[in-house]
Symmetry: D2
């Protein structure tokens, strides 16, 4: 593969230099392992503060698939299922990892990656009240992503409604925040970590896609889930022996708001590309204010751009165009964005 | 619940009297356990003969859910999935039993319970050739039911095409024959056990819904699956200690064609009801020549009939009518059918 | 294998004639499936009465391995383990069925199949209080068999002590009673079903080894375990569609004390053999008052007897003798016992 | 916890400075994710060279527990078990992670962490040839660690014998090399990576305990295991999105022999402590030439040392002494060793 400019994902580089510096600085300090070190303690305290809840448990796990599968299997009895949008990451992009823990995913149709409280309510009625319900896996947890797979956002009222219906039916609410920061600083976003904590039983704040080398911070409010969470992390291989690496990175990300600053940069870079795409008349598969763009792109343009840029093919749209994903990140440079924008405009001008 | 005449399923009674007689007759004979007895050996031999293949392995398992989960988990490595119609029994009616063995079910849209070779081919291409396929559970087995959940049948050519596409892609073909007999003797059925054996890697012949107290006979042609199948049956709790009970029943069912005779009776009883439903102008959710009928019934009629008969509500069709399942079996009496038919006709006449 | 007289197990025949009669009598009665029928209800009520507790849940499951794995996986979160004697049936004779549900078995050394409250207490301390306990599967349930694999019995005080230590540490107590009846009527047994119910969170009463064709009756006192137990039975394939078969058999077994009568017969037959073995000077691997005998038998005698009788080889004892298992049951005839006793005596006289 | 000098493990610091430098240097280079980058390719090629086999597959996984569970579950059908020494890491220190993938661990008694070819041979005979083998989980893989949990080493002839008996019985041989380097450069070690590759079906080279931030390199020779290994890594959450971090570190470790140099340093540091312990008359639980020492230490000495040094309590030895673990690593300084040695000698002199 030749060297192209990456817009394929938000994990094409290492970590933000501030994190790297701190890792270098602390490299020879001795600590105990498995997350029982002062750095993890500090990071957890900062996150508790931001969540407005000193009682939540905070754990750091190596990656997103591990965090999803650990969080879900920790909550469910054998016959219980997790409910997810049909395009939820756990259903489509994690190689059956949830099923490998023994649990079914009940999928709901989604609009641009989102599901609604009403859908959950109806699903619950169908599963619990049927005479035949002994033959159905039983819903016990709802999984959503924020922002979604398509970069869209839940509004405060929508999330509250989902939390309420979950509470009503005894369902745990779990929010996958692998890209949480990009969402929280996006235009139109109307809630913060405190509100998210109020709504969720468990959620996580992604690090690996937002400036860290790797790592996700799980926040657990529900005490039933919190009990013995560490041995479950260990059992699934998610307990880093040098756990300090996670504590150090999350402390840096959250101590002075670096996390949100980096997200704002990424969204801004995405916006420059978005405006350009609109100028040249492109439509979008989903309207999104975050760092992921889903233009419906003429195949000829996609091919032309692919000589220089690495973009992600999502799916065919019609005979001559496809849905393409363009991702920016904390690491995206203005120079690269300018280049891409320039090439889009000149190619389109040529074609016109 | 008051005593109603059962048309709710094909397992509302015990076993056909001939099987009961044989169980009584052999009751005090001593045998070794776990299916290593002369009765199981005899039954296996009769079934091998009917399959036209002396090399197939035949095992007897207590019930259908166990047979499905054992057959599937015996075939798959951790990341592999089974492909099934979206309304396949393993996906909708077995409480997540397949996922509990660690495997994802990849569902395909189905027409009246059936899927096609083309669908399998396209699904395979999508899953294997994608750049992202490391993130997808990998299809390795195809599960279909014959007859399907809606009583419909695969034609010989359709089954052959499915078997061919499976072979082409290295997918195992598994046919759930919980109601196999009802299908094989139905009008329009164009293949026998020999052809089924040629097409499948593994399939089973249902006993519990076709005259036995319980029990399914698994036929395994593929030697990779056949290896060490017994310890897997045992591990999942499917190895009956008094295995002879299964051998005795299947010997009786298959020695002189009783199995097919009973299925013919059930289909005939269903046909009487079908003709009646057509006469009164009812439409069907699915056209089926077997023992399960799916009329789209006015709610008023369904309610009226429910006073006397136990039928199964499937789902709402429109504001005033629903899909209802009526099942006959080897045990359905002409008297009960006459009564039902009479009540349908008189109720409809009254309504008209 | 030639036809020998069976003393190899307690499941070499069908069912006691009274059960068979009732199955024949009810064969054509129509009932709803999955254990929701009047026979299961009746059997459950009789068992509740005998347990002295109207609040316990009673479920009927096809076989012992299924009952064990369902009961255990219903109780445990992913990182939790079940504690068992090293020779417990779930550890040695069920093909890894518990591990297949995702859980580790923590084994304790056992004396003649039994473990003590002290052992459980020490194990718990070791597992919970260690600094390293995040790396250990966590004990949450204790599994014992009564009678044990070696036919030995817990005394009332021993069981009470185990129940107390379980309560102290929040461990569920589960008693596998596959041969419960043989134990409860044995000489030296000092507790009944009421006391067992007081001590246990969950236990089961075996049918398949004590006069039924198959089937175990699970009694659940702990409400946490009881919740949603039926879908878990279904998920693992243990929910018999014609569930009535279990209800009918257990009603017959328990309505008028047949169950205990049959057990007394088996124990009496075993005692005749035991006395004979003692007369000829044989020692025993374990002293047991129930239907299983474990003589340390000279290989020459074992070989001689094996021409006529099917006994079970357990393990080598020394160069010239082995531990052999001799099982009687409800079906063992005085005639066969007389024959065996005669042959033991004459062979030994000859050897002397 | 006050700040003590760490001898508790070989993962108390970050990474060797050369690795850190390279991570800093490459931080902003853009690569594709999931291990499909030039750094991983380079590292894999260097390792293939050292293994003397260009056909082996090399994968990089985040941590040891993940590597063990992925490697084992990738090899086994549902009823199959892995055989391990009773003190093997997978059995004692990974929270039931193997059982959580559905598989039983068959344990063998071990001498100082090691098992023998003879033990494996006998175990196999017992499991496969028994009449009752349908009731046993079936051995299919042998897991050993080199060096073992107690720092001891297999000799070339012992490993060859184990490999031969595995081949004879169709068992996969898997060597957990979490501390492989420390073993390979130890006094008395008589084989290299080439020989290890010849013997094993699959093994891994630990990074996290030998100079890297984290990471293990899995080497797969057996083509059956190699097939589709990447989706299994992904399914279990072991596929790092920024996989390059592993490639960069392993390239540095192996390009110029740094890995073995660091191991030699650790062993040398351990030797200084070992000689001191011998001088003061201490005995050892296990004789080991590697970086882990297991002195049987008077409790008074252990308590005294614990004021300044973090050592690991293993288990009580007798009333007044315990088995203690002292670990050195690539990061252990001569200064700290000198301090420890001085304190041991002065405390012992005082006590004498």
């Amino acid at each position: 593969m030749k060297n192209r400019i990456e817009f394929s994902s938000d994990y094409n580089e290492g970590a933000h230099p501030k994190l790297i510096e701190k890792l270098v600085e602390t490299n020879m300090v001795q600590t105990f392992g498995y997350g029982l070190d002062p750095y993890c303690e500090e990071a957890a305290n900062i996150i508790r503060e931001l969540c407005g809840n000193k009682d939540v448990d905070v754990h750091f796990i190596v990656g997103g698939t591990l965090t999803n599968l650990i969080s879900i299997c920790a909550c469910l009895r054998p016959h219980q299922a997790v409910v997810a949008p049909e395009n939820g990451h756990i259903h489509t992009m994690e190689t059956g990892s949830i099923e490998a823990t023994g649990h079914k995913i009940i999928t709901l149709p989604s609009k641009e990656g989102k599901i609604t409280a009403e859908q959950i309510d109806e699903m619950y009625e169908e599963y619990r009240t049927s005479d035949a319900n002994v033959h159905f896996a039983q819903p016990k947890m709802v999984y959503i992503t924020h922002p979604t797979e398509f970069g869209t956002l839940y509004k405060k009222a929508e999330l509250r409604a989902i939390a309420d219906v979950c509470k009503k039916h005894g369902l745990y609410l779990f929010v996958d925040g692998a890209r949480l920061g990009y969402g929280m600083v996006a235009e139109g976003s109307d809630f913060d970590l405190k509100f998210l904590t109020e709504c969720c039983d468990i959620f996580y704040i992604g690090g690996g896609k937002q400036g860290a080398l790797f790592g996700e911070a799980v926040v657990i409010k529900n005490k039933i889930i919190a009990e013995d969470f560490r041995p479950i992390i260990k059992q699934r291989g998610g307990l880093l022996s040098k756990g300090r690496l996670l504590g150090i990175q999350f402390s840096e990300l959250f101590r002075d708001g670096l996390y949100f600053e980096l997200a704002r940069h990424a969204n801004k870079m995405a916006d420059v590309i978005r405006q350009c795409l609109k100028r040249v008349g492109m439509e979008f598969f989903a309207e999104t204010p975050t760092n992921l763009l889903f233009p419906i792109m003429p195949d000829s343009l996609y091919q032309e751009l692919s000589n220089t840029y690495s973009l992600t093919y999502v799916k065919r749209w019609d005979k001559t165009s496809s849905v393409i994903r363009i991702a920016t990140s904390w690491a995206t440079t203005e120079k690269n964005v300018k280049a891409l924008v320039g090439d889009i405009e000149s190619t389109c001008a040529l074609a016109a």
